[in-house]
Amino acid sequence: MSDEERTCLEEMPAPHTVASDSVPLDSLLTGEQGVVVEMAGGRRLLCRMTSLGFTPGAEVTVVQNFGRGPLIALVRDVRIALGRGEAAKIYVRKDAP
C-alpha cells in the first residue's frame, strides 16, 4: 500500500458500517441512478468530492461506465469524471429501474 493511501486510511473516521443495501458507485451501469449514502476516503479526497457536489443524499446518475477506466457521473447537474478507485469510495442506494 502506498504512503498516500496509508495516510488517507489513518485520517479516515472509524470503520464504516455501510448500509447493506448500498453499492459502490462504480458498480452502477451507464444510465443507472442512485442516491449517495456514504463516502469514504481521506480528508482531501472527501473535501474535493463534497465541493464538486457529492454529499450523502445527493442524486447521482452514471452517464458513462464502460466497465474499465474512469467513469462519468452526473451530480447536481454537473458531469464529474472519476477514476474507478474514487468511484468505489462513494456508496449509493440504487434506484429501482
Binding site: 463534497t50 474512469p70 477514476g83
Partner: protein, 679 residues
C-alpha cells in the same frame, strides 16, 4: 500573502480615485466565465503576475465607471474555501486580509446548486457580495428557468442575471457595485445556517477559542474551519494557543472528526432551501448539446481518435501556416534589418556593425521569427480551453497515463508543454497529489516545445529535404516514447508504483469567446517578447562577445576554446565544437542554438545558415544533433520553473542529469544506427 496594513482599513473608506481606487474582487468556481468578465471590464488595462510566494497567476486591472476608479482583482477559480490548494488559500486570505469593498461572485446558472456552494463559503467572510448569475442563456437552452428576484430575496444579496460572452448584464452589475459602494447600509445577507447538530459543537469550540483567535479572523469562521479539519487554520490555532488550551479543542475535534462531510451536506441543504422557489428544472431525459458531443469526445475509442485529430491539426497548422510565416520574417525582417544596419553603420567601427548585425539582430531577431508558430499554438490552446474540451482530453488519456502511474489530469500540463515547457511545469498545479505532480514535472521537459520544434523545422529540411516532415514526426514520436518509458521507469523505481486520485469536472461545452481567446494570445505573446528582450538579447550579445574575443576571430575565440575542450564528448556523435557551443547556449533558450549557429557560421557569406550546415555536417550528425536537441537539458526558464514547483534542488538536479544522460545516449545510438544504415 503579505500582512498588509490595509487589513485594518474598514470597508467603504476608499475614495474611488486613481490613487485610492475601489477594490473589487472577482470570485467564482472554475469555468463560470470569470476571465470573460475580467477582460470585458479591464480590456488591455490589466496586469498579469503571480501571487506573492505562489505560482498561481494573479490578474488585476483598472476600470472607470461613472467617475469612480475601480481596481479589479481576479481571484483564482476554486470550488470551495477549505485549504486544499494554493488557490483556495489565496482567495480566502485575500478577502479576509485585503477586505475588498465588493466581492463580485459569479455563478453558473446552468449548474446553480453546485455553483452556490462557493457563495455559501463567501458570505460569512467580511466583504459584501454581489452575485453575477452568468450564462442564463445556457440555462434556458437546458430548459432551466430561474427567477433572479426570488433568488435575491432568499439570499438577501443582489443577484444580477447576465450573459458575459454577449456583454449582457455586465453594465447592470457594475451599476449594482456602484450602488453598494456608495450606499452600503442596505447589505444584509442571509447567512448560511449551521445545522442544529453542529451548532452545539461549534459553540463548545468557540468558548475554548475565546480570545485566542488572531486578527483579522473571526471566531465563528475559525471554529467552523477547525470543525472541517482545515489544515492551515488548525496549524495556525495550534500556534496561537497554549498546549493545554489546544488539547481541549483537539479533544472536541477528535470526537467529531467526520464533521467535514456533514458540514458540506449542511451547506447544500441551505442552498437547496434558497433556490427551491427560484428555479424550475425540466424533467430529466432531455438530451443537451454537451451530452451529445460527449458521446463522441469521451468515448474510449472515438475520444482518442478525436484527440489525435486535434493534435494533427495543430501540427499541420504549425507547418503549413507557421513555418512559411517564419521564413518570411526571417527573409524580410531579420535579413532586411541586417542589410539596413550594415549600410547605416557603414562609417562606424567594424566591431560595432558586427555587434548589431550578428550579435543583436542575428541572435535575438532570429528568435522573433518564432512568434507566428507560438501565436498559432497559444490560439488553439486558448480555444480548446474556452470550449471546455481540455477536460475531455484529460478524461480519455486517463488510461494511458495510468501506465506511468499518473492519471488523466497530468495530461493537461504535458499537453500545454507543447507550447512551452514553462507553462507546462506551472500547469501541474491542477494535480492534487504531490507525487503525481512531481512525476509530471520531471516528465514535462521531455515534451517537445515550440522553440525546439522551431529548431527542428529550421534544420530538418536542410539535412533531409522532402523527408523533413517524416523526420520531424519521427523526432516527436521519439520524444513521446522516451517520455512514456521514463514515466514508467521513474514511477517503478523511484515512486514504487503509487497511484493518485482522479476526480474532475467536465464543464458544459461553450462557444469560444473571441475576446477571451484574443487577450490570452496577446498576453502570452507579450510574455514571450519580454522574455526575448530580457533573457535572449543579453545572451546573444554575450555569445557574440565570446565568439569575437579576444582576437576578433571566431576560430581563436573563448567560445571556440570552450567548444574544443568539450569536443571529445561530442565526437561520439560526430559533433564539432560549434555544435557543442550551440547546445551549450540552448540551455539559455532552445531557440538559441539557431542564433548561436548563425553567429558561428556568419563567416561564410552567401549561402543561408541551413544550407551551410548541411554542407558542413553529414546527415547522420545532423540527425544526432536533432535528437539531442529534442531531448536535451531543459532551458534555464524551465529549470527555474522546475526548481520553483518542486521546491527542491535535489529533484531539479536529478531532472537535469537524467535528461543529459538520456539525450546523449539517444543521440549516440541514433548516430551509430544512422551510420550503419548508410546516412
Amino acid at each position: 500573502m503579505s500582512g498588509d496594513d490595509k487589513s485594518t482599513v474598514p470597508n467603504g473608506t476608499r475614495a474611488g480615485t486613481v490613487e485610492d481606487p475601489i477594490l473589487v474582487a472577482l470570485a467564482g468556481q472554475p469555468n463560470v466565465g470569470k476571465s470573460t468578465i475580467f477582460n470585458l471590464l479591464t480590456g488591455l488595462n490589466q496586469h498579469v503576475g503571480n501571487w506573492p510566494g505562489k505560482t498561481v497567476e494573479r490578474k488585476e486591472g483598472v476600470f472607470q465607471y461613472k467617475g469612480t476608479v475601480y481596481k479589479l482583482v481576479d481571484l483564482p477559480g476554486t470550488y470551495s474555501l477549505t485549504a486544499n490548494s494554493a488557490e483556495e488559500v489565496i482567495t480566502r486570505e485575500f478577502i479576509i486580509r485585503e477586505r475588498p469593498d465588493v466581492v463580485l461572485a459569479l455563478v453558473d446558472a446552468a449548474i446553480l446548486e453546485r455553483s452556490l456552494y462557493l457563495i455559501s463559503e463567501l458570505l460569512p467572510l467580511p466583504s459584501p457580495v454581489i452575485i453575477g448569475l452568468n450564462m442564463i442563456d445556457v440555462a434556458e437552452q437546458e430548459g432551466i428557468k430561474i427567477e433572479p428576484e426570488v433568488l435575491q430575496a432568499a439570499l438577501g444579496v443582489t443577484v444580477v442575471p447576465m450573459v458575459a460572452t454577449k456583454n449582457v448584464g455586465v453594465r447592470e452589475m457594475v451599476d449594482q457595485v456602484d450602488l453598494l459602494v456608495h450606499d452600503g447600509d442596505g447589505y444584509q445577507p442571509k447567512m448560511p445556517e449551521i445545522r442544529a447538530d453542529h451548532r452545539e459543537v461549534l459553540d463548545e469550540i468557540e468558548v475554548l477559542l475565546d480570545g485566542c483567535v488572531p486578527e483579522p479572523y473571526s471566531q465563528d469562521w475559525v471554529a467552523l474551519k477547525l470543525l472541517e479539519g482545515d489544515r492551515e487554520i488548525t496549524t495556525m490555532m495550534q500556534g496561537c494557543m497554549s498546549e493545554e488550551q489546544w488539547d481541549q479543542v483537539h479533544q472536541v475535534l477528535r470526537a467529531h472528526d467526520d464533521a467535514l462531510v456533514a458540514v458540506a451536506s449542511g451547506r447544500y441543504e441551505w442552498i437547496g432551501r434558497m433556490i427551491r422557489a427560484a428555479v424550475t428544472k425540466p424533467k430529466a431525459g432531455q438530451i443537451g448539446l454537451t451530452e451529445r458531443l460527449d458521446r463522441w469526445a469521451t468515448h474510449p475509442f472515438w475520444g482518442l481518435a478525436i484527440l489525435a485529430g486535434i493534435l494533427a491539426v495543430i501540427f499541420g497548422l504549425t507547418y503549413t501556416v507557421g513555418a512559411p510565416l517564419q521564413d518570411l520574417m526571417d527573409t524580410f525582417l531579420v535579413s532586411g534589418l541586417q542589410d539596413l544596419a550594415r549600410t547605416w553603420l557603414g562609417g562606424a567601427p567594424g566591431w560595432l556593425a558586427d555587434l548589431v548585425v550578428n550579435g543583436i539582430i542575428g541572435g535575438a531577431g532570429a528568435m522573433l521569427t518564432f512568434l507566428p508558430i507560438l501565436v498559432i499554438f497559444f490560439a488553439v490552446m486558448a480555444v480548446l480551453e474556452d470550449v471546455g474540451y481540455l477536460a475531455r482530453a484529460a478524461y480519455v488519456m486517463d488510461g494511458f497515463m495510468h501506465l506511468m502511474g499518473l492519471h488523466g489530469k497530468s495530461f493537461l500540463p504535458l499537453f500545454l508543454g507543447f507550447g512551452c515547457n514553462v507553462p507546462g511545469v506551472l500547469g501541474t498545479r491542477v494535480i492534487e497529489s504531490r507525487r503525481a505532480r512531481l512525476l509530471t514535472i520531471l516528465l514535462a521537459p521531455l515534451v517537445p516545445c515550440t522553440a525546439r520544434m522551431g529548431v527542428i523545422a529550421f534544420l530538418a529540411p536542410a539535412f533531409f529535404g522532402r523527408a523533413a516532415t517524416l523526420v520531424s514526426w519521427g523526432l516527436v514520436m521519439l520524444a513521446l516514447v522516451v517520455l512514456a518509458v521514463s514515466g514508467v521507469l521513474i514511477n517503478r523505481l523511484v515512486f514504487r508504483s503509487q497511484r493518485a486520485a482522479f476526480i474532475m469536472e467536465l464543464p458544459l461545452y461553450h462557444v469560444p469567446n473571441g475576446r477571451t481567446v484574443g487577450l490570452l494570445v496577446w498576453q502570452r505573446s507579450i510574455e514571450f517578447l519580454q522574455k526575448a528582450g530580457a533573457v535572449i538579447l543579453p545572451i546573444s550579445i554575450g555569445v557574440w562577445a565570446l565568439s569575437v574575443l579576444p582576437g576578433g576571430d571566431v576560430e581563436d575565440s573563448f567560445l571556440a576554446h570552450i567548444g574544443r575542450w568539450m569536443e571529445p564528448v561530442g565526437s561520439l556523435l560526430g559533433f564539432d565544437w560549434r555544435l557543442m557551443v550551440a547546445l551549450l547556449t540552448s540551455f539559455i533558450a532552445k531557440e538559441n542554438s539557431i542564433a548561436t549557429l548563425g553567429v558561428l557560421f556568419s563567416v561564410e557569406e552567401g549561402a543561408g545558415l541551413a544550407e551551410t550546415m548541411a554542407a558542413t555536417f553529414s546527415p547522420a550528425t545532423g540527425l544526432a544533433f536533432l535528437v539531442v536537441q529534442m531531448l536535451f537539458v531543459p532551458c534555464v526558464a524551465t529549470v527555474a520553473a522546475v526548481r520553483q514547483e518542486t521546491r527542491s534542488w535535489r529533484w531539479t538536479l536529478f531532472n537535469v542529469a537524467f535528461l543529459l544522460i538520456v539525450s546523449w545516449a539517444a543521440g549516440a545510438i541514433v548516430y551509430r544506427l544512422a551510420i550503419w544504415g548508410g546516412l
